[in-house]
Subunit: 173 residues, 2 copies
Amino acid sequence: MSSPAHALADARLEFVTQWGVLGSAWGISRTMAMLHALLITSQVPLSTDEAMEALTISRGNANTNLRELVSWGLVRKVVQPGERRDYFEAEKDVWKIFCTVVRERKRREVDPALAVLRSCAERTASLRGSEAREFNGLMVAIGEFVELAARVMDRVAASERSKIVPAVLKLFK
Amino acid sequence: MSSPAHALADARLEFVTQWGVLGSAWGISRTMAMLHALLITSQVPLSTDEAMEALTISRGNANTNLRELVSWGLVRKVVQPGERRDYFEAEKDVWKIFCTVVRERKRREVDPALAVLRSCAERTASLRGSEAREFNGLMVAIGEFVELAARVMDRVAASERSKIVPAVLKLFK
DNA sequence: CTGAACTTTCAGTTATTACTGAAAGTATCG
DNA sequence: CGATACTTTCAGTAATAACTGAAAGTTCAG
């Protein structure tokens, strides 16, 4: 049996690694997901150099992905008193992380998809023929569905955990 | 202004293309997403050769991605009477498509993630020290959250649109 | 059986995406 | 200022994922 210190380090490493795997299955770069996992499991903010060393990645890679995490709003730069370099700290509240991801993916991917669906629906609205009408009906149906999803995402992203989770629990399960 | 026939073909092409883009942002291969878009916008089932031609892809690529779509349950093989070759037909009900995707991603990605989180929580449950306790608390918190998400996904995947959508509409918006 | 019609596989190639590291840029301090 | 400490950029390279096409496999009619 391994020592307690290793048990923690091992578990953390497994978490960081698997978070990376999961992220890449959902279209998030492995490194970005791993950096996120590293930061949320760190008690203290980390510098670029510390992150580089922990994941054995280059400065450029660390810099790019840390800034990307900041642009998602999942991580913020913090200043250590008397220090010149930037430190990074992740939001650790699971509900807030979830809301942020929902908000960003909605903005980055769902809204553009909605625009495409609307354009496809509009451009075929007045066409005749069963093929055109069927296509148009499908675009409208998918559009309405995605619109509903978008509304739910907006609402979730803006909500308090204490208000939504109990309601969801009541609705499902 | 272009002819009506082109307007439909153009809109369909835009939809197929953009569905591919959206898919790849969410970790689904572009070709698979495009094949899916092609099939749901087809009034008739398509053969492998027809799909190959429509997307200008190789036989191997078409075969692999069509089978993958079948394994997701989004597409089924159908036999045309008196025909030897396989034809493929997509489920067109938007709610059913959504449920299928939810069910499959839960099974393929969320369940494994849950296993990792539980393992990380268990392995650190009895460790002492503030770092270990904080890590363990985070694993438990994320685990509970993902478990809730998994339950919601199970429930959604098994539900009738007419029962869930109105309830969701009432809850959000 | 045999061959035609079709499907599947997979080694090799191509396309895409991610990463490196050195150079250029910026801010701060004495 | 000029030196130092740090951050950002990006051309080149590496890693990964996806695709091709020909060969092997399967099915079935005659």
